[in-house]
Amino acid sequence: MGNYILSYSKIAANCLWHNGKLISKSAETAAPSTILEDSYKSLNLSYPKFFKMDSLSKLGVLCAEPVLKDEPVNELFAKEKTAIVLSNKNSSLQTDLAYAKTMRDFPSPALFVYTLPNIVTGEIAIKHKITGENAFFIEPAFNAELLYNYTEMLLQENDAALCGWLHIDEKGCEGFLYFVAKQPAGEGKKSNFIRHNPDSITNLYIN
């Protein structure tokens, strides 16, 4: 019995998608901050802490929301046996630079706490009460092989994992998260699930 991708989301090209369905669309010229704000509104979130987060954390929390609230994911998997495996190429560079700017005057504690890439894993974990292990990889580009291999290893001792890629800079943002589980959660929905392998991950990321 293999592992399956049960749900996935994307923020790319000014849009938020969940399982291939359009959730939110911003103007073509929208800045990353506007895209994140539009996505927040479209998801009907009421989470004041969101506004204090750095952009990378906002991107992660927004991509995670529809995936982790998805029916089989939300209902059937133990939060203490769910892992988080994320990646990007810039680490927390955007926030690091913003913090460095404040150091000339008054260093900002609120920015300082976001000067690590894995803070976003913590923000997702706090919001959804996930207590499994987590990892954040810095890679030159999206690396499906790495995510697949590491997640498969984790799934030997965990039930499920939220995985993906979260990139944001001043020009744009690209988020892609997917939920992998040991086995399909409900035979009736089996046909909707996608086999977990590097090709399927790459296909979901590209398309």
């Binding site: 004041p48 506004f51 204090k52 005057d105 008054f106 260093p107 900002s108 504690p109 609120a110 706490v113």
Partner: protein, 84 residues
Amino acid sequence: MENLIQSLKVQIIDQLNLTELKPEDIDASAPLFGEGLGLDSIDALELIVLLEKNYGLKIQEPKDAKNIFQSVKTLAEYISAQKK
């Protein structure tokens, strides 16, 4: 004092990124931490930065901070007293 309270509300919203709030949403007498605005320890550090940056004030006695940061009103009273 009322002008100072209004300015503080605007500065707090800006400094703490409380973008979902308007100044009129903040009750000047409500607790800043726990209930009320529900600020956390990082926000407390940001308020210390705000005091120093905007008013040139440093809290000398850490034990006084709890009373000073009780509410927007107590913060305004502290600033006002220090300026005299």
